[in-house]
Symmetry: C2
Subunit: 339 residues, 2 copies
Amino acid sequence: MDCLGGDKSPEANVEGAVSALRRYSDLEMILAGDEDVLRTLVRKHAGSEEERRLTYLHAPDVITGEDKPTDAIRFKKDSSLMAAVRLLREDDSIDGMISSGATGAIVAASTLRIGRIEGIYRPAFCPVLPTMNGGVVGICDSGANVDCSPLQLQQFALLGSIYLQIVFGIESPRVALLNIGTETEKGDLLRKEAYPILENTKGIRFCGNMESRDLLSGKYDLVVCDGFSGNVLVKSTEGACLEMLKMLKRDIYSKKIYQLGAFFQRKMFQKEKEFMNYQNYGGSVLLGIRKVVVKGHGSSNANALSKCVEQAYKMADQHYESRLQALLELNPVSETNES
Amino acid sequence: MDCLGGDKSPEANVEGAVSALRRYSDLEMILAGDEDVLRTLVRKHAGSEEERRLTYLHAPDVITGEDKPTDAIRFKKDSSLMAAVRLLREDDSIDGMISSGATGAIVAASTLRIGRIEGIYRPAFCPVLPTMNGGVVGICDSGANVDCSPLQLQQFALLGSIYLQIVFGIESPRVALLNIGTETEKGDLLRKEAYPILENTKGIRFCGNMESRDLLSGKYDLVVCDGFSGNVLVKSTEGACLEMLKMLKRDIYSKKIYQLGAFFQRKMFQKEKEFMNYQNYGGSVLLGIRKVVVKGHGSSNANALSKCVEQAYKMADQHYESRLQALLELNPVSETNES
C-alpha cells in the first residue's frame, strides 16, 4: 500500500489497510511512506493481530499531479510509489499494489518498471459504476490510453471481461462498444473498425453498440471505449448524479414543508447517498500489468481504500494472468496487425 | 416545419408551429407533409389568426433512421424533409427550417443542398443543457462530426459563442475544451493541438480545459468537443439524470412513509422534473449552414417543437451569419492549415 499521494493520505491508507487485514486473515501487507508516521498511525488503528501481518517500507517522498510522470519515475526514487513499485518488481512473493496517488505516474511506473502481461499492448483502467438494477458496469479503458487502435479496444474487452468474472462473479459479462448510436455502422473510424473485430472475438459476449445514456440501465456489464471517451463517460455520469443530489438537497432546504417531507424519507436518502457514493466501489484496477495494480480515487477515504485492497486480494487469488493468456490464445493477432 | 419523421409527428409538429405563431405575430410558417392530414390538424389546433400565416408544402414521403442519408437525399425527393430543404434553398424569403426527423439525413441534406457558410469546414450541432445555477451550457459539436481536426474545434468555439450570444443573451460566453483533466498539457493528440489554437483565437473567451464532471456546474457556457465525445457527454448526462429520477420514484413508491414525505414535496418534484425535461430546452441548432436549421429530438412534443421554432426565429432575426463572418475574419486560416 502506497500510503502517500491521496487527499486523505496517509491516515486513510493505513486505516483502509488495517480494515482489510481484519477481513482477510491470510492477507499480509507492506505500508510504504514515512515509517515513523506510519507506525504511529498503525498503533492508533490496528490491533496486535493486524500489526503482526504488517511491515514497513520507508520512502517519505511523494509524487504529485504536478510531477511529469516520466520524470517522477526517474528522479523520485525515494517516493512511496516508486519504492512500492520496485519492491513489487523484485519480490515474487508480493502480489499487488494499491495507490491513491498521481494517475499518470502509476500508469508509467507500472508499465515501465513492472511490465505488461505478455501479448498486451497497453494496460487499461476498468472502474465500475453501480447500475439502477443493483448490479455494476465496468468501463474499460477510462483514461490510461487517450489515443487507441481497434485492436486495443479488443484487448480492453478481454481484460475487462475476466476482471468482472473474477472480482464481481459475473459469469459471462455482456460487452458493449461505446458509440453514438446502436446501429452496426455507426461511429467514427475507430468504432467502425473495432466493431467487426469485437464481433469476431472468441471467449467474450459481445452485444453490439451502446449509447452512453444506457450506461446505468443494467443492460451491459462491460463498456469498451478509448480512454478519452471512457473518461468523459465516467466523469459526466458521476458529475450528473452528484449535481442532482446537490440540487435535491438545496431544494429540500428551501422550504420547511419540503424538509418535513424529507424527514419521512431520511432512510431512503441515506440509502441513495450510499448507492451513489463511489467510495463504496473501490478503485480502478490497472489491467494488463504483470502484477495487480489498483488505483484509488485521489479523494479515497479508508473505506474506499479497504475496498481497493479487497479488489487486489481477489485478483491475486484467482489467476487473472493465466485466464487472460487463455483468451489471448483464442484470439491470435498476426504480427502485421499489431498496434 | 418538416412535419414528418418524429415519434409524435405530425400532430406535435403542427401544434408546436401553431403555438409559436401565437407567440410571434410577425412569424409565418410553411408546413411540409401530407397536406390533407396537416389541414385537418391545423383546423383542430389553430385559430384563424394563426391559420392566415400558415401555408402548406405537400410532400407525404418520410425519411427514417433506416434510410442511408446519402441515398435518402438522392432518392426520397417527395419526402417532407427534402421538399423543405429544396424550398429553403430556392426561396430567399425563407429563413430556416425545423425538423425532428433522421439526424444523418438532416445533416447531409443541409450541408449538400443548402450549403455551408463561407469559410466553415463542417456544420456542427449545439444543444444546450440546464446548469445547476439556473443557466444553460452549450455543447458543440454533439454528433454531426465524429472525426474532427483541431481547426474544426476552433470553428465550433466561434459557431457556438455567437449562438449563445444571440439565442440565450450570454454576452461573452465562457468557452472550455472538453478534456480528461484541467491541466494545459492533458489529453489526446486532438486536444493537445487544439488547446493552443483556442488560446490564440480572437473574439472568444477561452477558459481552458474542462473535465466532464463539471458540465452542469455553471462554470462554463460553451464546451467544445469532437462530435463523438460530445455525444457521449450529452447522452450520459441526460441518461444519468433520468436514471436518478427513476430510482427516486421507485424508492418513493417502495414504502408508504416515503410516499407521505413525497406528498409534502410534490411541488418540488414537479419543478425538478420540469428542470430535467429536455423538451423545455428545444432542439439542437445545426450551426454553420447558410440558413437556420434546427433539429428537434426524435421524441419532441409540441412544447419542444415550439421552442425549436423560437430558436430559429431568434437566429434568423439577429444576423448570425454576418456576426460569424466578422469572427472568422479576426481569425484567418492559411490555406495550408485548412482541414
